[in-house]
C-alpha cells in the first residue's frame, strides 16, 4: 500500500464485506456507465520522497529561482520576521485544524483571532476588525460592495486613480458583476485631484470613495476633509492602508474612515511569489453588522471561564445563504496567526523601528539616485514613505536587465520612463550603495556605446 493509505488486503476484505461489495469499484455502481473514467490519468508516476526532494531542489536551483536583492514593492514587500513566527505557525494543532466551529476544542484558533482583531483595530484605529480576508485586493472589493449595499440611493462608488491598478482591477471586476459602476477620480502630480473629487461628491449619488495610503506610488496623501464631505452625502470613506506603515502614519480612523482595508503581507510575511498574504478589514461599530467574513467575540462558558467563539454569524453564508453580507467562507486564518505572532514580537517599538529604517533607506536611496544626475522625481515635492517613483533618462528596460544580471531587482517599472523602488529594513546601506553603483556603471557603458 501507499504510505498515506493504511488499508491492508485483510482490512479491505473485511470492510468490503461489511459494506456489501466485492470490490471498491462496485461502490461506484450508481455512477452512469457513460460518466465512468476508464483510462489511466496522464500524470507522472509516483515519486519517492527522495526523488521528490531532488525534483524540487532542481526547480529551486539558482538558475530556476534567482534570489534577487529586492527593491521591488508594488504591493509585496521583503520585510524581516523573527524566526519564531514561521516556527510557531507550523505547529500542527494550528496548521491541521479546521475553522473553529467547535469552540470547546478550538480555543487556540479563536483566541489568536481575537488577538489579531484587537491588533488590527489598534493599528487602524477602527472599532472592529474581522478575522481576515483573502488578500488586500479582495478586501477592498468587499469594502466597495459594503459601501454600495449601505447606500439608500446611489449611482456609483468612487475610487482614486492612485489606488494600486491591480487592486483597482479586482474592484472593477467585482463591481461589474455585482452590478454597480466604479468611477475613477483622476490624479494630479501623483495624488488624488481634490477639485475633481469635490465635483463628483457635489453631483450626489456617491455610495463611497476608496483611497489608498500610502498610495500606489508610495506617496503619503493628505485626506483631510474628505470624510466630512462624503458623510454629508451619506457616502462611506474606505481607506486601504499599508498596516506596517500605520506604526507612524495617521490611522484610517483619524482620517474619518468608515472602513479600513489592506494587505497584511507587509507585516513580515514572506513574499512567496505573491501569496499567501492576508487581507484585513475593519470598520466602525455602526457598520459592524454589515461587515463580511468571520468575527470572533468574547463570551463565557458554562463553567464561568472567559472563552472565545465565532459570533454575529447571522451575517454569514452558512446561515443566510444568498442574503449573506458576502460569500466569503474561510478567512486566511493561519496568516492572521502569522501577523499576530509577528506583531507580538515586534510590538510597539519594533514596528516603529521597521518604519524608521525603511523610511530612512528609501529616502537615502532616492537622494543617491537623484545625485547621479540621471533620475528625477516623478512627483516632485510629494512626501513618501518607503516607496517612491523616479524617471530615468535612458532605456529603463535595459537598465533593469543589467540590474537583474547583477542580482538586483531594482524595482517595478510603472511607466515607460518611471521606476518604482521600495526599501525595507532588510536592505543594508551596502546593498543600497551597490545598486546605485550598478546603475552608475551601466550609465557609463551606455554613454560609451
Amino acid at each position: 500500500m501507499f504510505k498515506y493509505f493504511p488499508h491492508t488486503e485483510e482490512d479491505l476484505q473485511e470492510m468490503l464485506k461489511a459494506a456489501g461489495a466485492k470490490s471498491v469499484h462496485d461502490l461506484f455502481d450508481d455512477v452512469p456507465e457513460a460518466a465512468r473514467f476508464k483510462r489511466e490519468y496522464e500524470l507522472p508516476e509516483a515519486l519517492s520522497e527522495t526523488d521528490l526532494r531532488l525534483f524540487f531542489e532542481q526547480l529551486t536551483a539558482p538558475d530556476n529561482a534567482m534570489q534577487l536583492v529586492c527593491f521591488a514593492g508594488a504591493g509585496c514587500y521583503d520585510h524581516y520576521a523573527p524566526s519564531v513566527v514561521q516556527n510557531l505557525i507550523q505547529r500542527s494543532e494550528f496548521l491541521t485544524s479546521y475553522t473553529p466551529y467547535q469552540a470547546e476544542i478550538s480555543q487556540g484558533t479563536l483566541h489568536y483571532i481575537f488577538e489579531y482583531q484587537s491588533m488590527i483595530a489598534e493599528l487602524t484605529g477602527m472599532d472592529i476588525a474581522n478575522a481576515s480576508m483573502y488578500d488586500g485586493a479582495t478586501a477592498t472589493a468587499e469594502a466597495a460592495m459594503m459601501a454600495w449595499g449601505n447606500a439608500k440611493k446611489a449611482n456609483c462608488v468612487l475610487m482614486s486613480e492612485t489606488v494600486d491598478p491591480k487592486v483597482r482591477r479586482v474592484v472593477e471586476t467585482y463591481a461589474h458583476f455585482h452590478g454597480f459602476p466604479i468611477k475613477l477620480v483622476p490624479a494630479v502630480n501623483g495624488v488624488l485631484d481634490r477639485s475633481a473629487l469635490d465635483k463628483e461628491i457635489a453631483e450626489g449619488g456617491v455610495a463611497g470613495l476608496i483611497v489608498q495610503q500610502p498610495n500606489y506610488y508610495g506617496i503619503v496623501e493628505n485626506y483631510t476633509g474628505i470624510a466630512d464631505a462624503l458623510h454629508e452625502q451619506k457616502g462611506i470613506f474606505v481607506v486601504n492602508a499599508n498596516p506596517s506603515d500605520l506604526a507612524i502614519l495617521k490611522t484610517p480612523a483619524e482620517w474619518g474612515a468608515d472602513v479600513a482595508v489592506g494587505e497584511g503581507q507587509s507585516l513580515g510575511i514572506p513574499m512567496t511569489f505573491g501569496g499567501p498574504g492576508v487581507g484585513y478589514m475593519a470598520c466602525t461599530e455602526k457598520l459592524m453588522r454589515k461587515l463580511p467574513g468571520r468575527i470572533v467575540g468574547q463570551t463565557l462558558d458554562n463553567r464561568g471561564q472567559r472563552a472565545f467563539v465565532l459570533t454575529l454569524q447571522a451575517r454569514e453564508q452558512h446561515i443566510r445563504r444568498q442574503k449573506a453580507t458576502s460569500n466569503i467562507c474561510s478567512n486566511q486564518s493561519l496568516m492572521a496567526l502569522y501577523v499576530t505572532i509577528y506583531l507580538s514580537l515586534m510590538g510597539k517599538e519594533g514596528l516603529r523601528e521597521v518604519a524608521e529604517v525603511s523610511y530612512a533607506g528609501a529616502h537615502s536611496l532616492r537622494d543617491k539616485l537623484i545625485a547621479t544626475g540621471k533620475f528625477k522625481d516623478t512627483f516632485p515635492g510629494q512626501p513618501f514613505f518607503n516607496e517612491f517613483c523616479v524617471d530615468y533618462e535612458g532605456d529603463l528596460e535595459a537598465l533593469l536587465d543589467e540590474c537583474t544580471a547583477n542580482g538586483y531587482l531594482a524595482g517595478v517599472q510603472v511607466g515607460e520612463k518611471t521606476l518604482m523602488l521600495a526599501v525595507t529594513e532588510q536592505r543594508s546601506t551596502e546593498e543600497i550603495d551597490e545598486l546605485v553603483e550598478i546603475i552608475q556603471q551601466f550609465k557609463e557603458e551606455e554613454a560609451k556605446a
Binding site: L52, Q86, T109, F273
Partner: protein, 503 residues
C-alpha cells in the same frame, strides 16, 4: 490536546520595555519620519504588546494545546475532507528559494516557480477532464465566485442576458451566496426524498425561465454524499436551454480515479486544494480554489495567467506571466480576482501531493474514501437513523439517533464525541433533515481508527438511553464547556480594547 484552558491574552503579558526582535542599527539616519508633516502622522503610538521572545513562544505554544488538528486525532467532519496533510509538503513549501521570490520579478529569473504553477494547472485539468485552470482564487468560495464570473463573462460576450442561477436546495450556503455576490438571482431546485435533484422540477423551471438561466450549480456527490444518478440528463437539459453547468468541487475527493466532472458535462468548476489535494486547512485558510473550464471558455479566465512562452521568445523562458491588457485598471473584457496569482505557497503543497501519489495512487483515493464511508454507514445504522439507504460516496449523513426518546440531540452527540478525543462530525447540515450528522472519514484513516470511532458512537447512543444528562451536558473533558453564543452576539466584544474599556 491539553484539557485545561490556557486563557491569557498576549496583551495581558505585555510589560513596557520588553521586545522580541532585533534589527540592524547601522543605517543612514539622514532622514527620519519626523520629516513628515504632523497632519500625516498618527497621534498616539499603537498599543501593541511588548514581550520578550520566550514569553511569545510559550504563549502561542500553550494556545496551540487548546486546539485540535488532524494530527491530534480523527476528524470526521463531513464535507470538509479533513485528510492527512503530508509533512513533506510543508518542507517543500518552506523552501527558502520559493519564499524569497517577488511576484513581479522577471519570468526568466523564476522559471522553477512558473513550472510548478503551470504543471499544477495542467494536472488539475487532466484530473477534472477540463481544458484549462486558473489557480488565482484563494479559497473554495472565491473559486465559486470566479467561476460564476467566467460564466457571466461568457454570456455577455455573446450578448446574451441571463440573470438566473439554478441551485439545488441541498447545496452548500456558499453557492447561493456566491451567486448573489456575482449579481445572479438564485432559483432553488427541489430535492426528492432520496436527496437527489428533482429532475421534473428542474424541467418545469427550465420551461418557465430557460432562456434566463445562466447556469446551474451542482455538487456531485451532493451534500448528502449521494451520487446524482441523473447527472448526464441534467447537464444535457441545461445545455439545451443555453446555460452552463457549474461543478462545485467540494466533494471531488470521492471521484478521484472513478469519474471526472468534465466527462459528466460540466463546463466550469472549482477545486478546493485544501480538501482533495491535502493542503492544510490552517484553522480556516489560507486555502486555494482553482477554477477550470472546458474548451472554448479559456479566454474568460481571470488575469494574470501563467502560460507557455511564445515559441519565438529569444530570452529562453519556457513559461511567462500574461498580465492581460487591462492591467491599468480598466476591466475591459478581462477579469481579475486577487492581488497577484493566488496562494502559491498552497499550490506547492498540492503539487507535491500529486507528484507523491502519482497516477497509480491518485486513482485509489476516491475508492478508499468511499469504502471507509460505506463501512461506517453500515456499522452505525443500528444506532443512528439512516434516512437514505443504498450506496454513499465519501461521506454519510445520519438523521440523529434512532432512539430519540430521551431528547438527546445531534448537538449533544457531537459535543460528547469531543470528550472521547474526536472532532465532531458536521452537524445540522444538510438542512434536509432536522438532526443531520454528516461523517466523512477520508481515505487516510485505518480500520482500527474507524472501528474505535464506531465503538464510541455506539457507546454514546447507549449513554443517551442510560444517562442522557451526561450527554446533554457534554463536553466535560475539554478546556472549556459549552459557550454562551447569545451573550457573544448580544453585546459583541470583539477586541481586547473593549474588555479593558468596560472593566
Amino acid at each position: 490536546m491539553n484539557r485545561t484552558l490556557y486563557g491569557n491574552l498576549i496583551f495581558e503579558l505585555s510589560k513596557k520595555g520588553r521586545k522580541g526582535y532585533s534589527l540592524p542599527q547601522d543605517y543612514d539616519r539622514t532622514h527620519t519620519t519626523a520629516e513628515l508633516p504632523e497632519a500625516l502622522r498618527r497621534k498616539e503610538a499603537a498599543r501593541l504588546p511588548e514581550c520578550d521572545e520566550l514569553t511569545v513562544v510559550r504563549h502561542y505554544t500553550n494556545l496551540s494545546h487548546n486546539n485540535f488538528g488532524v494530527n491530534d486525532g480523527f476528524y470526521p467532519l463531513g464535507s470538509c475532507t479533513m485528510k492527512y496533510n503530508p509533512v513533506i509538503n510543508e518542507e517543500i513549501a518552506g523552501l527558502k528559494a520559493f519564499a524569497g521570490l517577488h511576484p513581479l520579478q522577471p519570468a526568466v529569473t523564476c522559471q522553477g516557480a512558473l513550472e510548478v504553477y503551470y504543471n499544477l494547472q495542467e494536472s488539475l485539468a487532466e484530473l477534472a477532464g477540463l481544458s484549462e485552470f486558473t489557480l488565482n482564487p484563494c479559497a473554495g468560495a472565491h473559486g465559486e465566485l470566479t467561476g460564476l464570473m467566467v460564466i457571466r463573462a461568457y454570456h455577455e460576450s455573446r450578448g446574451d442576458v441571463r440573470t438566473k442561477v439554478l441551485i439545488p436546495d441541498s447545496a452548500h450556503g456558499t453557492n447561493p451566496a456566491s451567486a448573489a455576490v456575482c449579481g445572479l438571482e438564485v432559483v432553488e431546485v427541489k430535492s426528492l426524498a432520496d436527496g437527489t435533484v428533482d429532475v421534473e422540477h428542474l424541467r418545469q423551471l427550465l420551461s418557465e425561465m430557460g432562456s434566463e438561466v445562466a447556469a446551474m450549480m451542482m455538487t456531485n456527490p451532493n451534500t448528502l454524499g449521494i451520487f446524482e444518478p441523473r447527472v448526464l440528463e441534467i447537464t444535457k437539459m441545461i445545455h439545451e436551454a443555453g446555460g452552463l453547468m457549474y461543478y462545485d468541487g467540494a466533494n471531488l475527493n470521492a471521484l478521484l480515479g472513478e469519474c471526472r466532472p468534465g466527462d459528466m458535462g460540466f463546463d466550469v468548476m472549482h477545486i478546493n486544494l485544501h480538501k482533495t489535494f491535502s493542503t492544510p486547512h490552517g484553522g480556516g485558510g489560507p486555502g486555494s480554489g482553482p477554477v477550470g473550464v472546458r474548451k472554448g471558455l479559456e479566454q474568460f479566465l481571470p488575469m494574470p495567467r501563467v502560460v507557455e512562452a511564445p515559441t519565438d521568445s529569444c530570452t529562453g523562458e519556457s513559461y511567462v506571466v500574461d498580465w492581460g491588457k487591462s492591467f491599468e485598471g480598466k476591466r475591459g473584457e478581462e477579469l481579475s480576482v486577487g492581488n497577484f496569482f493566488g496562494n502559491f505557497g498552497v499550490m506547492l503543497k498540492a503539487y507535491a501531493y500529486i507528484l507523491s501519489l502519482g497516477r497509480e495512487h491518485i486513482k485509489e483515493v476516491g475508492p478508499l474514501a468511499t469504502l471507509n464511508a460505506n463501512y461506517i454507514k453500515e456499522r452505525l445504522r443500528d444506532s443512528y437513523l439512516l434516512p437514505i439507504k443504498g450506496l454513499c460516496k465519501h461521506e454519510v449523513v445520519f438523521d440523529g439517533l434512532v432512539d430519540k426518546s430521551t431528547g438527546v440531540t445531534t448537538m449533544d452527540v457531537a459535543k460528547r464525541l469531543l470528550d472521547y478525543g474526536y472532532h465532531a462530525p458536521t452537524i445540522y447540515f444538510p438542512l434536509l433533515f432536522h438532526e443531520s450528522l454528516m461523517i466523512e472519514p477520508t481515505e487516510n484513516e485505518s480500520k482500527e481508527t474507524i472501528d474505535a470511532f464506531i465503538d464510541v458512537m455506539h457507546k454514546i447512543a447507549e449513554e443517551a438511553k442510560t444517562d442522557p444528562e451526561l450527554v446533554k451536558t457534554a463536553p466535560h473533558n475539554t478546556p472549556i464547556g459549552r459557550v454562551d453564543d447569545v451573550l457573544a452576539a448580544k453585546q459583541p466584544v470583539t477586541t481586547y480594547w473593549k474588555t479593558i474599556a468596560e472593566s
